[in-house]
Structure formats: structure tokens, C-alpha cells
């Protein structure tokens, strides 16, 4: 098998996932939160592809493609929301957007 060991792929994926999670938790701009989400999704894609390579099965790769499609759709909705926020001159800060408080 060419290239580095599967462990490396998983390690990179874990690091990427951690970065994404940290971004989601720490950043207050919804744009950056969405971006961090994308990083988390791509981390999982990397893990899927890595495992797919490890087990010599294309299932993981197929799943990764699906995730990309869903991610693209999600970004459309997310960016649309952000544009709507901007148009209404609402603050782009997830800590002040707390209308769902019970």
C-alpha cells in the first residue's frame, strides 16, 4: 500500500475535527461557525476515505461524496440565513441571537 499508514490519516482527521469543534464553540460570527462546521465535515470525510482505503472498500468514499453534497446544501441554507440577517440589519453574533430561549 502506497503512502503513509492509516493511523496518520485518522490523526489528521481528528486534529481537523478538533479545530472545527473549537471554532464552533469559540467563534461568535455565524459565518465563521459555518466555516468551522465545514472543517468538521471535511474531517469526517477524511476519516471515511482513510478507512475506505484501509479496508479496501469503496463504501466510505461513496459516503464521503454524499456528505459533500449535503454539506453544499447546508451551506446554501446557512449562507442564505446570514444574508437575510445582514439585510435586516440584525447583529451577526450568535450570542445575541437567542430568541429560542425557553
Amino acid at each position: 500500500m502506497l503512502g503513509p499508514d492509516t493511523t496518520w490519516y485518522i490523526a489528521v482527521a481528528a486534529v481537523l475535527f478538533g479545530i472545527g469543534t473549537t471554532g464552533v464553540i469559540l467563534r461568535r460570527s455565524p459565518l465563521i461557525v459555518l466555516l468551522s462546521l465545514e472543517i468538521m465535515l471535511n474531517a469526517s470525510n477524511l476519516a471515511l476515505v482513510g478507512f475506505s482505503r484501509h479496508f479496501v472498500s469503496v463504501d466510505g468514499q461513496i459516503f464521503a461524496i454524499s456528505v459533500m453534497a449535503v454539506a453544499a446544501a447546508e451551506v446554501v441554507v446557512g449562507l442564505g440565513l446570514i444574508v437575510a440577517f445582514t439585510r435586516r440589519k440584525m447583529p451577526l453574533d450568535v450570542d445575541t441571537l437567542t430568541e429560542l430561549r425557553g
Binding site: I25, V94, R101, G102
Partner: protein, 646 residues
């Protein structure tokens, strides 16, 4: 043919009731009255056709059972328990059918005059037609369950009609009282039927009676069943100790008192004993108990009637007393005479009530006999009718009550033994009392100088509400009231001539073809007791006349009179023993259980839920980042747990 006519008889009044109910305000009040009257008379025609056909049959073939369909069936341990919708037509039920529809039709017709101008006449006539249907259901029901259905329905009709004047608190209270007292009897009867189903698996007349006659049931079962049935009969027929509802039931309109509380419903207990005589004969102690209850009721009701001031209440106590005679007869097995007295009583008691109704109507609703007097001149027709009814009630020959009452006394004498002689004594005391209280009433109402009230209502003056029918004949009331009174006068006068001992006894032969009597008095006994009973009845009348002429009451002021005016304290006793303790217990339960435990616990549960909800609502902060943190932390924790557990 017989069964078709009988079904017609049963269903015609029901159709009338339904028609009036559905018609609502589309039909006029008069039309509602006619619908009720005609539907009951159609029933009478059906009963008459069936009677003629059945009477033409051989005495052994006179029982007809007609099944329409299976009402319901239940799988029980012993197999299927089925109750068909069926009617049973035999001489006993035919006699009842003729009385119910014949006398009932006359009374409904009379109501058209009596109730004219009342509010809610349509409701009244719908109830009346419904009552006739329910009563027919009771006597025609082809098995014990249908009998119980009719039993319950007449109780309902009685409740509705006693409480007809629902804006009068006394009427509502009387209706409730009647319903509750009857419910006691209904319950014991239902228990008796449960026991029968449990032991025999059927409520069919023939099968049940066969089981009772052939000794398939243990004597304790038979005693319990008979006691349960007797409880129902005692409550429905207002015998001691469940009698207190009947005098109060006089709050209802007078035709209702005549139909339900004199002629038909209250005699249902007698019908029940005669119908289920196989069970009672298999439990002779209970049957004798019913005779004793009847005998005691004759005297107790008779003495209370001596001091009553309400014209209808006097007649109501007299009804109790007369039904006592029927219970006595049924209790010693003189079924023919029980049914005979039931029939003649229906005639003369309906007549007395309807005559009283004419008087009450004429006097604008007055029922207190102290305010009446001297009505003989003002109301000659009613006077004659009432006198015939009173003489028949007192058992003066040749009027109807004479033949039936003396037959009962003679049967008791023929029964002999300590029981028989006790019953004869009670019945003869009853005859004395009957003459006395009946003629006390008669003299107070019709004789003496006219009272102010009577003067105010005689001549051109018409009672309130009489304008609509003031143009009719006699000035005593509208013709629709006077004609039924006239017909009943004739029936009360000659209705007893169907049994002349030793000469002509078609009525007894008719009843005997359905149920064999246990005692048959000899002709000599009959005439001997007749002489004694008539003499005693005449003494009662003479006592009443002397007291009236002397301006005295029959029972002088004193402790005795106080006791009688309180009706022997039955109401007070029941109030103390049942009503008050129940109220105390209920109040204690309310203050000690319902309020502190049930109500507070509900409040606490509600408050607790609110508090928990307020706590959990705080978790939903709306802060996106804290959600994400919680999710991430949870995942981390789960992964750690996962790994650690592995």
C-alpha cells in the same frame, strides 16, 4: 292473530309517545292529547281482539309466547344465556292489558280536559303514552328480564309524571322520593334475577318456574329469590315498609295519580306475585310474609287515612290499603281474587281520583277538604259518581268492591289456621276503616253547608283557566272529563258482577285457567263473610256519619291523633336512620377526605409540574455556542465511557 293484536297493543302507545315527541311544536296541544288518547285506545282494541280470541280457546291452551328476535346473548360458564324480545299473552297478562289500556285510555282522555291550559301539555301526553307502553311491557314481557325492563320503565314514567310540575319543589322532592324508594325494590328484584340466572342459566318464564316447581333449586335459593321479588313488589305497590313515597306522589297531576298511583303501576306488585306464583309457592314462608305485609298495610294505611286533610292523600292511603288486600289474597294463594280485586279497584279507585280531579279542577286547584263542603248541590253529577266509587270502595253490594273484597276475606277464612284468622281479623278491621275514612271524606266534601270557597266557585263564576272550556254542559267541567267519569261510574257499579259466588264466576275461571288457586272458599263461606263484612263496612259508614253530624273528627285530638298525623313517624324514622347518617358521613368525607386529600393532592401535583417545567426551561438558553459545547462535551464523555467500558 292473537300475537299480532297483542304486539299492536304493546306498540301503539309507544308509537303515540314517539309521534308526540318527534312532532314537537308542529302538532297542536289538542292534537297531542288526541294522539295519546287514540294510541291507547288502539292498544285497547288490540287487547280486546286478543282477549276475545283467547277466551274462545280451551282453558289449557291459553298461553301464547311470541318471539320477535333475540335481544342479546352472552356466553357464560354454562353455555349461552339468551334473552329474546318476546311477549307472553295469557289470561293474567290479558286482564292487565285490558285494564291498562281501557282505564288508561279513559284517563288520558280525561286529561285532555283536566290539563287544558297547562304549560307543556305535549310533554305530559308523551309521558302518559310512554307510561302505558312501559306498563304493557311489564305485563306482557315474555321473560323475567323484559318484566324487569318494564318494571324500570314504569318507575321512570312515574318519576317523570310525579315531577311534572317541575317548578314546584315539593313535586320534585316527591318524584325523587318515589324514584329512590322504587330503586330499592328494583335492586332487590335485579339481585333475585341474578340469582336465578346463576342457578338456572335462564330467565325464561317456563324454564324458571319449572325449575322452582320440580325442586331443582335449593330452598335457600328459592327463599332468597322470592324475597328479592317480594322486595320489588313491596316497593312498587307501596306496601309497608317501603310505602312512604305514594302519598307524596300525589304532587303529580290528578289523572297521573288515577292512572299510575291507583289503577295500574302500583298494582304491578300483585301482578308480579301472581305471575311468579311458582316461585312463591316453592317458598311458602315468603308468600305468607307477603300476606302479612298486605294485612298490616291494610290497617296501617286505613288508620292514617282517617286523619288526612288532602283529598288526594286520603284516596292515596286508601289505595295502599286496598293493595294490601290484593297482597293478602296473593299471599294465601287466592290469585283469582287478587286479580279480581285488582280490576275492580282499578275501576272504583280511578273513578274516585277522577271525581276528585273534577272537584279540584272546579275549585281552582284546592285540595284541602276543610275548605270544601256542600258540593252536593253544586256538582250533582260528580256527587253521584263519587258516591258510587265510595260505596264500591266500602264494599257495599252490589257494587264492584263488594264482590272482590269479600272474596278475599272468604279466601283468608278458608285458608284457616292462625295465619288465616289473623288475616281475616286484619281484613275486617280494614273494612271498618275503609267505610269510616271513605265516608268521612265523602261527608266533608259533599255535605254540610257550602264553604266560602265552594260558593265562590259556583254559579256564573268560573275557576281560573276554565274560560277556554266554560261553554261545556254541566258547569262541573268539560265533557272530556265527565264522559270518562261516567264510564268509570258504570264500570265501578257493575264491574264486580263477573263473579257471583256459586252462580256465575267467569272471571275466576278465566284467571284459574292460567294459575291454579291454593284456596277456594265454599259458597257458604263467601256469603257468610259477605254479611259480616258488609255489616262492618256499614258500621264504619255510620260512625263517619255520626261524627260528621256531631261536627267531630273520627280521631279526637290527643297523642293518638298526633301519631297518625305524623303517619306513624315512618318519614321521620327513615330520615334519622338513613338520610341523616348518610349526610353526616358524606359531609365528613367531604371535609376530611375530599378537600384535604383529593383536592390538595391535585393542586400539589399541578404545582410540582409547573416547578419542574420552570427548571427545565432554564436549560433552553438559546445560546448556540453553549449547545454546541454541551454536545461536544457529551460526545467526549460518551467516547471515554465507551472506551473505558471496553
Amino acid at each position: 292473530m292473537i300475537t299480532a293484536a297483542s304486539w299492536l297493543c304493546l306498540l301503539a302507545p309507544l308509537a303515540g309517545a314517539v309521534l308526540i315527541t318527534l312532532g314537537g311544536t308542529l302538532i297542536s296541544r289538542t292534537l297531542a292529547g288526541w294522539i295519546a288518547t287514540i294510541s291507547v285506545f288502539v292498544g285497547f282494541a288490540g287487547a280486546l281482539v286478543a282477549f276475545v280470541k283467547v277466551a274462545g280457546e280451551r282453558p289449557d291452551d291459553r298461553a301464547h309466547l311470541s318471539t320477535a328476535y333475540t335481544w342479546f346473548g352472552v356466553k357464560l360458564g354454562f353455555g349461552e344465556f339468551k334473552v329474546p324480545m318476546q311477549i307472553f299473552v295469557d289470561p293474567i297478562s290479558l286482564t292487565m292489558m285490558l285494564i291498562i289500556t281501557g282505564v288508561g285510555g279513559l284517563i288520558v282522555w280525561y286529561s285532555m280536559g283536566y290539563m287544558k291550559g297547562e304549560d307543556e301539555e305535549r310533554r305530559y301526553f308523551a309521558y302518559m303514552a310512554f307510561f302505558v307502553f312501559a306498563m304493557l311491557m311489564l305485563v306482557m314481557g315474555g321473560n323475567l328480564l323484559l318484566l324487569l325492563v318494564g318494571w324500570g320503565l314504569v318507575g321512570l314514567a312515574s318519576y317523570l309524571l310525579i315531577g311534572f310540575y317541575h317548578d314546584r319543589p315539593e313535586a320534585v322532592a316527591a318524584a325523587k322520593k318515589a324514584f329512590i324508594m322504587n330503586a330499592i325494590g328494583d335492586a332487590t328484584m335485579a339481585l333475585a334475577l341474578f340469582l336465578i340466572v346463576f342457578k338456572t342459566g335462564t330467565l325464561d318464564f317456563a324454564l324458571t318456574f319449572y325449575a322452582a316447581e320440580t325442586g331443582q333449586l335449593s330452598s335457600s335459593t328459592l327463599n332468597l329469590v322470592a324475597l328479592g321479588l317480594l322486595g320489588g313488589a313491596v316497593a312498587k305497590s307501596a306496601q309497608l315498609p317501603l310505602h312512604t313515597w305514594l302519598p307524596d306522589a300525589m304532587e303529580g297531576p290528578t289523572p297521573v295519580s288515577a292512572l299510575i298511583h291507583a289503577a295500574t303501576m302500583v298494582t304491578a306488585g300483585v301482578y308480579l306475585i301472581v305471575r311468579t306464583h311458582s316461585i312463591f309457592q316453592a317458598a311458602p314462608n315468603v308468600q305468607h310474609l307477603s300476606a302479612i305485609i298486605g294485612g298490616v298495610t291494610i290497617v296501617v294505611a286505613g288508620v292514617i287515612a282517617l286523619v288526612q286533610w288532602d283529598i288526594k292523600r286520603v284516596i292515596a292511603y286508601s289505595t295502599m290499603s286496598q293493595i294490601g288486600y290484593m297482597f293478602l289474597a296473593a299471599g294465601i294463594g287466592a290469585y283469582g281474587y287478587a286479580m279480581f280485586h285488582l280490576m275492580t279497584h282499578a275501576f272504583f279507585k280511578a273513578l274516585l281520583f277522577l271525581s276528585a280531579g273534577v272537584i279540584i279542577h272546579h275549585l281552582g286547584g284546592e285540595q284541602d277538604i276543610r275548605r270544601m263542603g256542600g258540593l252536593r248541590k253544586a256538582m250533582p253529577f260528580t256527587h253521584a259518581a263519587f258516591l258510587v266509587g265510595a260505596l264500591a270502595l266500602a264494599g257495599i253490594p252490589p257494587l264492584s268492591g263488594f264482590w272482590s273484597k269479600d272474596g278475599i276475606i272468604a279466601s283468608a277464612l278458608a285458608d284457616g289456621g292462625p295465619l288465616g284468622y289473623t288475616l281475616v281479623t286484619l281484613a275486617l278491621i280494614g273494612a271498618l276503616l275503609t267505610g269510616a275514612y271513605t265516608f268521612r271524606l265523602y261527608y266533608l266534601v259533599f255535605h254540610g253547608p257550602p264553604s266560602d270557597l265552594v260558593l265562590a266557585h259556583s254559579g256564573d263564576h268560573k275557576p281560573a283557566g276554565a274560560d277556554a272550556h266554560g261553554s261545556h254542559g254541566h258547569g262541573e267541567g268539560p265533557l272530556s272529563m265527565l264522559i270518562p267519569v261516567g264510564v268509570l261510574t258504570v264500570l265501578a257499579a257493575i264491574g264486580g258482577l263477573v263473579v257471583i259466588p256459586g252462580v256465575w264466576e267467569p272471571f275466576l275461571d278465566w284467571i284459574d285457567s292460567a294459575v291454579e288457586p291454593l284456596v277456594t272458599p265454599t259458597v257458604a263461606t263467601e256469603y257468610a263473610t259477605s254479611v259480616v263484612a258488609v255489616a262492618i263496612g256499614l258500621i264504619g259508614i255510620v260512625i263517619a256519619r255520626r261524627a260528621f253530624n256531631a261536627g267531630q273528627e273520627l280521631v279526637a285530638e290527643g297523642p293518638m291523633r298526633t301519631v297518625l298525623e305524623h303517619k306513624l313517624y315512618f318519614d321521620e324514622l327513615y330520615d334519622r336512620v338513613f338520610s341523616r347518617p348518610a349526610q353526616v358521613v358524606a359531609n365528613r368525607l367531604r371535609t376530611d377526605v375530599e378537600e384535604p386529600i383529593v383536592q390538595r393532592s391535585l393542586g400539589e401535583v399541578g404545582a410540582g409540574v409547573t416547578e419542574v417545567a420552570a427548571g427545565t426551561a432554564r436549560l433552553q438558553s438559546g445560546l448556540l455556542r453553549s449547545y454546541a459545547l454541551v454536545i461536544a462535551a457529551t460526545v467526549v464523555v460518551l467516547v471515554i465511557v465507551f472506551v473505558a467500558v471496553r
